[in-house]
């Protein structure tokens, strides 16, 4: 009976939380595709999709139905299992990130304190890095299984790009970890609630992290893997129907997740700006119950803002050339991140020694 002495309500709570988070993420991703088209249109003086429903808000549903009802084609010479595994892996890796992101404080419901974070593992950032790197497998496997030169080149590009930019990303984060002193995302957000946001301490680190996150998501200035005019859509060229949809979806979920990570690491996560969250929690009445939901809303707003910036950049700057991409990654971002690390480290040592040797 030792097995059954498990904390079943906890399991249920986590399952419900995971379901809510995953489905919310999928919903947001659905509307991010719509948002992308709308933002692109508005930045280019067009009205954008406006036919399906009022202001076109049913457009993502129409797109989804279209994707589902299209013919599923698996090329004859493709490796069938890998071909199916590719988009699945991309999707799973994209969704797995949301496990460690703190979405809000604690909700008191059914006499339980529910923490709005699936799991606050103490190596949260490392976990995110591991999962994000796994996303590359989706692209690699898909590109390889397509048995097509363009897809293969594209997946190789994706892999090399991800490896190059993960380095700079990790180095820029090391400086942040110097400042915060731990790797848990939940702890980091709690620190930022009482202190300044980390962006104040790490502006350069944030810039590097932001650029690298854009490269990791294969967003436009760095979208060489799917460069449609050179590789005609790259790794998802042979894909059709919902398998293609999964790849496109995974990209948008990655974007949401990197926005959430950026918000949590540098912009206070679910911390409501200019408001003392603890005061809100300790107050009585409606604000006490609403506080965690306000925090979730704040985080979502921050995520939406970052997604908008992603799109804004996408529709502003053209794609880098491959050598420019590599130069930027290896010759600019990594040295900058190292310098940032050294400066942060020395300042912290100075501070520990009370600014004198």
């Amino acid at each position: 009976m030792t097995l059954l002495s498990f904390d079943w309500p906890l399991l249920l709570e986590k399952f419900v939380l995971i379901a809510i988070i995953v489905f919310t993420t999928l919903g947001i991703a659905l509307y991010t595709t719509f948002g992308e088209r709308k933002v692109a249109a508005i930045l280019q003086d067009r009205p954008g999709p406006n036919r399906a429903g009022p202001f076109g808000i049913l457009q993502p549903l129409a797109d989804g139905v279209k994707m589902f009802t299209k013919e599923e084609i698996i090329p004859t010479h493709a490796n069938k299992w890998l071909f199916i595994l590719g988009p699945g892996l991309a999707m799973v890796a994209a969704l797995m990130t949301c496990a460690v992101i703190p979405w809000g404080g604690t909700v008191h419901i059914f006499n339980r304190d529910v923490v709005l974070q699936v799991t606050d593992i103490n190596i949260g950032i490392l976990y995110i890095f591991a999962v994000v790197s796994m996303g590359i497998y989706g692209i690699m496997i898909g590109g390889w299984a397509s048995n097509n030169k363009f897809s293969l080149i594209s997946s190789l590009r994706a892999a090399s790009q991800a490896i190059s930019y993960e380095l700079a990303m990790g180095l820029s984060l090391i400086a942040l970890i110097f400042v915060t002193g731990n790797l848990s995302l939940g702890e980091m957000v709690k620190q930022q609630q009482t202190h300044w946001w980390n962006i104040v301490y790490q502006p350069l680190g944030f810039l590097i992290f932001f650029i690298c996150a854009m490269a990791e998501c294969n967003r436009t200035p760095f979208d060489l893997p799917e460069a449609e005019n050179e590789l005609n859509f790259g790794y998802h060229q042979e894909y059709s129907s919902m398998k293609l949809g999964f790849y496109l979806f995974a990209e948008y979920i990655n974007m949401i997740m990197s926005s959430a990570v950026m918000a949590s690491l540098y912009f206070g996560g679910y911390d409501i700006p200019f408001v003392d969250d603890n005061l809100l929690y300790n107050s009585s009445g409606i604000w006490h119950t609403l506080a965690p939901f306000c925090q979730v809303g704040t985080l979502l707003l921050k995520i939406v803002f970052f997604i908008f910036v992603f799109m804004w950049i996408r529709w502003t700057i053209p794609r880098f050339r491959y050598d420019q991409l590599m130069n930027l990654g290896w010759k600019t971002l990594i040295p900058l991140a190292l310098i940032n690390m050294v400066i942060t480290g020395s300042l912290i040592i100075l501070k520990i020694n009370h600014w004198h040797f």
Partner: protein, 176 residues
């Protein structure tokens, strides 16, 4: 050499300044420009609800004209078919019978008059060639269709409604 326009910009291949080489500042400038486009007026005409005004000389679908008494103007002289550079027009002439004076203005008329809308280039030369003011290009499009055969427009498709007998349709066709 004199510049052809006011907007000529000399290309200089000076080495980039530090600010330009950092590239970030230029990205910020570009992003500012795109951001300003959010507030710009959109030139889109939302088609089925809004329609663009045609120019007064627009050349659209053909119309075979009738005179004020509702008689067909066309005498099947064939000048439009000769003038047509795309050879889209074919016709067959027939002689007016004594009891058909209210239908045809002159003693010869077109028994069959066909325009192939897939061949037609809407140049308007038929309109200019016509000595009887019988053919005009209107301000409408040729609607889409599923078969090539249906694009060969005959007399029933082309003739303007009769003022006398179908005044309602005539007014609608005139856009009044």
């Amino acid at each position: 050499m004199q510049a052809l326009t006011q907007r000529v910009k000399q290309v200089d291949r000076k080495p980039m300044t530090l600010l330009e080489r950092i590239y970030l500042w230029n990205i910020v400038k570009g992003m500012f420009i795109t951001f300003m486009h959010i507030f710009k007026k959109k030139p889109t005409i939302r088609y089925p609800e809004q329609k663009r005004e045609f120019s007064p000389v627009f050349r659209g679908l053909h119309v075979l004209n009738r005179d004020e008494e509702g008689r067909e103007n066309c005498t099947a002289c064939g000048l439009c078919a000769v003038a047509c550079p795309a050879e889209a027009i074919t016709m067959e002439a027939a002689e007016r019978l004594p009891n058909e004076e209210h239908l045809y203005r002159e003693e010869k008329y077109a028994a069959k008059y066909e325009i192939n809308m897939l061949r037609c280039i809407f140049c308007g030369l038929c309109e200019e060639a016509c000595p009887k003011d019988a053919i005009y290009l209107s301000e409408t499009f040729t609607p889409a269709n599923f078969t090539r055969k249906n694009f060969i427009y005959g007399k029933p498709d082309l003739l303007i409604p009769n003022v006398k007998t179908e005044s309602g349709e005539f007014a609608k066709a005139k856009g009044m």
